[in-house]
């Protein structure tokens, strides 16, 4: 398998460089190729059982071409031959000619790229399917062995490896080999007819060092802590959001407001607030593409700009937004290396097209890091007279306004410093940008997710809606 991956890469890279030479001879202003050759093996778990096992390879290349007047076109293909790759390049040029001006369209100039270590582990690329099945099995056994009342409802183990490359007509020409591994297990508790909602734990790594036992045990522990859940009455007060809750809804609101393109259009809630206090002094937020063992760490972004660490919010004051070459050029500021072809989100167009070589880059954090504090989550809980701990919630942030109204899923009622009981039903609601200002404590329990490393946040004055 691995030899195929390397051969495909060399072949693809050859066609891409030829097509770029062809474009240089045409009347293009700028041209860029982004190409990948990934391979993934995945085991899916459902209902205590290994449901399926897949292996997929999908190499391809996407060309971005601009012509006079900053008119830009994009075309891609995953059909790998000299003819088809060349055709995609020509197609991008053809589309550019009928497109309209993108103000300040830019690609990065070549900059020295320091190769980041620890992004690749041969053991991931060479792992056999039996190895991966074994990891899933160990995770299930750990969860269900922890307590007889636990059932693993869902889960996944993925091993991904591959190559990523960028070439542009300004002289950028870089490639990187990377591996990623992840395990997720969702467990549910069952006793006397009571079934808890599914509780998940995750681990995201760059190397073959997943610990399925830890993930399984954590998921199981949470699941059995949810028995005898009770509703709460509505109140306005202290809520502790655990890392998982922060990594979804709060992360989405934060990312949306930090994107350079949203600043340019004036849609960002924090537009024109650079240098001003936008959050509690307890919050320092950075984007760090150089983070050791970071799931989204990389030597260069998806336009070939070198990775860096950018402080976005320092002690509550807004210092920087996230930029790509184009938004940095438009807003006359520095590129932060945040062009990404893998940004998630709920965008239907993006979901239909797919990501990677199939899409032009968008702005997205690499590893968005909220600097952790000193207290453990347990300590923070002990200091609360009355409040709620939200380890996970369902729902999302309304982009633009930052409004969140989410259903409590793994949540607990706190009274006099003690967790009294898990919560059945109920919601929290408010505006994420208000919550950032109301953060009174930051936990020391940072956890790695796909594109963030975040701790628990204690937030005052949050509206809790009882059921």
């Amino acid at each position: 398998m691995t030899t195929d991956l390397h051969e495909n890469w060399t072949e693809l890279s050859g066609y891409v460089h030829k097509a770029m030479k062809m474009l240089e001879k045409q009347s293009v202003s700028l041209a860029e190729a982004f190409f990948t050759s990934p391979q993934s093996t995945e085991v899916v778990v459902r209902n205590s059982e290994i449901l399926t096992q897949n292996r997929a390879g999908d190499a391809g290349v996407g060309f971005r071409v601009s012509v006079k007047g900053n008119k830009v076109g994009f075309a891609c293909t995953n059909s790998i031959s000299e003819r088809t790759v060349n055709e995609a390049a020509k197609n991008a040029l053809h589309i550019a000619k009928v497109s309209s001006e993108i103000k300040s369209f830019a690609l990065p100039e070549p900059n020295p790229i320091k190769k980041l270590k620890g992004l690749f582990d041969t053991r991931v690329e060479e792992a056999s399917i039996e190895d991966i099945v074994e990891l899933a099995k160990r995770g299930i056994d750990a969860a269900e062995g922890y307590d007889k009342r636990v059932i693993v409802k869902a889960g996944r183990v993925s091993y991904m490896s591959g190559w990523r490359g960028v070439v542009n007509t300004l002289g950028v020409d870089c490639e990187e080999r990377e591996t990623k591994t992840l395990i997720y297990l969702g467990a549910s508790g069952k006793q006397n007819g009571e079934v808890t909602s599914s509780c998940a734990d995750y681990m995201f790594k760059r190397t073959a060092t997943l610990n399925p036992e830890a993930v399984g045990t954590n998921a199981a522990k949470t699941a059995i802590s949810l028995f005898h859940s009770k509703p709460v009455v509505s109140f306005q007060g202290t809520v502790v959001f655990g890392p998982e809750a922060v990594s979804y809804q709060l992360f989405d609101a934060l990312t949306d407001t930090l994107k350079g393109e949203n600043v340019a259009s004036g849609r960002s809630f924090w537009s024109k607030k650079t240098g001003k206090a936008v959050a509690s002094e307890n919050l320092t937020i950075e984007d760090n593409a150089l983070l050791e063992d970071g799931f989204s760490s990389r030597s260069f972004d998806d336009e070939g700009y070198p990775s860096q660490k950018t402080v976005l919010v320092r002690r509550g004051k807004l210092e920087s937004f996230l930029h790509s070459a184009t938004t940095a050029n438009l807003l006359k500021t520095d590129n932060t290396g945040n062009a990404s072809r893998y940004s998630g989100g709920m965008n239907m167009a993006r979901a239909i097209v797919g990501n990677g070589y199939r899409a032009k880059p968008e702005i997205h954090p690499s590893n968005l890091v909220i600097q952790h504090g000193r207290k453990s989550k347990e300590q923070i809980v002990r200091e609360i007279d009355r409040g709620v701990l939200v380890d996970s919630m369902a729902g999302f942030a309304q982009l633009g306004s930052g409004m969140i109204s989410a259903q409590l899923s793994t949540s607990f009622y706190i009274e006099k410093g003690e967790i009294k009981h898990p919560i059945k039903g109920g919601m929290v609601s408010g505006v994420a940008f208000d919550w950032f200002k109301q953060v009174s404590e930051v936990g020391n329990d940072s956890k790695q997710f796909v594109d963030s490393v975040v701790p628990s946040l204690k937030v005052e004055n949050v509206k809790v809606i009882g059921s």
């Binding site: 398998m1 209902n47 059982e49 290994i50 399926t52 096992q53 897949n54 292996r55 997929a56 390879g57 999908d58 008119k71 830009v72 076109g73 994009f74 891609c76 293909t77 995953n78 059909s79 790998i80 589309i95 009928v98 497109s99 309209s100 001006e101 993108i102 103000k103 399917i129 039996e130 099945v133 099995k137 059932i151 409802k153 079934v195 909602s197 509505s234 259009s265 849609r267 809630f269 239907m348 167009a349 979901a351 239909i352 199939r358 032009k360 369902a394 729902g395 999302f396 309304q398 306004s401 409004m403 109204s405 259903q407 039903g425 919601m427 609601s429 408010g430 505006v431 809606i465 059921s467």
Partner: protein, 442 residues
């Protein structure tokens, strides 16, 4: 052993704030192999390299993967024998995508943008995206089936953010069907753009909705999300078998007697129009809940064999690179007897909820969804406009409270992210029920 092959061509054109922000041409080809070994374990492998070596590699991999966990599989899978199907089917298209040139495609999202601009200056951010998808799919099975399906789909999505003195209001709407450019004959892009922009701007002056349990009339746009996420998913056999909300209740009253729910892969122009599923089973109308009584789940061949029933044609894969899962095609609620006015008339104090921001639900049918806007209903009449928020609860419980179903069911585009992406149709009327609203107002 099944083999699937696919050619997909996507044209995407996004106009954002009067600029073509993204104009893309996506050409994809690939194949996948799926093998069942020892009558208990499936393996799947895909590749985009269509060389004999790669294709043979995928076949060998599928078998190897299936064997790798065969010994851990507890359930036997005895597939019901199916008749070999040899078909070449083409979904109807009135106006082909090739009718217009690359230069003219841009006019579709530009027209929608002009519609937005017609509304006024409070629109801070406007985005219109045209997507045309042309699929050619091949299915071959070791049981002798040879199926070729050609399906074209067209979508137009408009997203708006209105802003005035610190208040930000989003609104969006999607248009989409299986078919060609005739989509825009009925709803011109410009009118769609205007409609969405008007809604966003109106909401700037609206108050936040209240919180707590409310009697509500749910517009089809939101009803579609509720139906798909919270009722549809628990009716998918794989989720139901993992102990979800509807498990083991076939033949029992599980919903309001006014409710009849079906899934139908052959709804003309539905985004989930498929003559055959990705296991070669013909798609048809499956009644899932009839007058409140649970009749059937949606099945693929594996779940059907475990449940001892016939597959319902619900095995669908987003593309060649992923294996088929149990998916909804065009799920629907059969229209009832009420006009919208009649539904509102008898509500003393409640809300009319409209539009969707999507949401999520789990197998127990616990859901959270966003609605875009609302109106107070006071003494049987629509009163002041309210902004969007989320609704939450357990859908099975919510559906038991349905006491009126609208008489006009409309076809809506939808999407789903169950492990992999899918675009689907929904056929939905308005409903009246009780639901928990998570607003920030009073």
């Amino acid at each position: 052993m099944n083999l699937r092959g696919q050619k997909r061509r996507i044209t995407l054109c996004t106009v954002k704030n009067n600029v073509i922000e993204d104009y893309s041409n996506i050409a994809l080809t690939g194949m996948s192999a799926r093998a069942l070994v020892d009558d208990r374990s499936w393996g799947f492998s895909s590749t985009n390299m269509l060389t004999p070596r790669s294709v043979e590699g995928a076949l060998a991999n599928a078998i190897k993967l299936a064997k790798a966990s065969s010994r851990f599989k507890k359930k036997r899978i005895e597939l019901t024998a199916t008749k070999a199907v040899e078909k070449n089917v083409r979904a109807p298209v009135k106006r082909k995508l090739q009718e217009i040139s690359a230069e003219d495609i841009v006019n579709i999202p530009f027209e929608a943008y002009r519609g937005v601009k017609d509304v006024g200056r409070e629109v801070a951010d406007a985005k219109a995206t045209y997507i045309g998808i042309e699929d050619e799919k091949y299915f071959l099975s070791s049981e002798g089936s040879r199926i070729r399906q050609t399906i074209t789909r067209v979508l137009l999505m408009v997203e708006i953010i209105a802003k005035s003195s610190g208040t930000i209001c989003p609104a969006s709407e999607n248009l989409g069907h299986s078919g060609g450019l005739e989509l825009f004959d009925k709803t011109p892009p410009r009118s769609l753009g205007s409609r969405v922009a008007k809604k966003a701007v109106e909401l700037l002056k609206a108050k936040a909705p209240p919180s707590g349990k409310q009697r509500v009339v749910v517009h089809p746009t939101l009803c579609a999300t509720l139906l798909h996420e919270a009722i549809g998913h628990p009716l998918e056999a794989d989720l139901a078998m993992s102990g979800g909300g509807f498990g083991d209740q076939t033949g029992k009253l599980v919903s309001s007697k006014l409710v009849t729910i079906y899934d139908d892969g052959r709804v003309q122009n539905g985004l989930g129009y498929f003559p055959y599923d990705d296991e070669g089973i013909g798609c048809k109308r499956t009644v899932l809940i009839e007058n409140g009584v649970l009749k059937s789940f949606m099945h693929d061949r594996t779940s059907a064999s475990i449940a001892g029933v016939f597959p319902t044609g619900n095995a669908h894969a987003w593309d060649y690179s992923v294996e088929p899962l149990i998916r909804q095609t065009n799920i629907g609620i059969q229209a009832g007897d009420y006009s919208l006015e009649e539904m509102i008339e008898s509500v003393q104090n409640g809300l009319y909820l409209e539009g969707t921001f999507g949401g999520q639900a789990d197998v127990n049918a616990d859901f959270t969804f966003g609605f875009q806007n609302a109106r107070w209903i006071r003494r049987g009449e629509l009163a002041e406009e309210l902004r969007g928020a989320n609704v939450a609860g357990n859908a099975i419980e919510v559906f038991k409270t349905i006491d009126a179903v609208g008489k006009e069911a409309i076809l809506r585009p939808g999407a789903c992210g169950k492990l992999q992406y899918a675009i689907q149709g929904r056929v939905v009327p308005a409903i009246r029920c009780e639901i928990m609203v998570g607003g920030t107002g009073r």
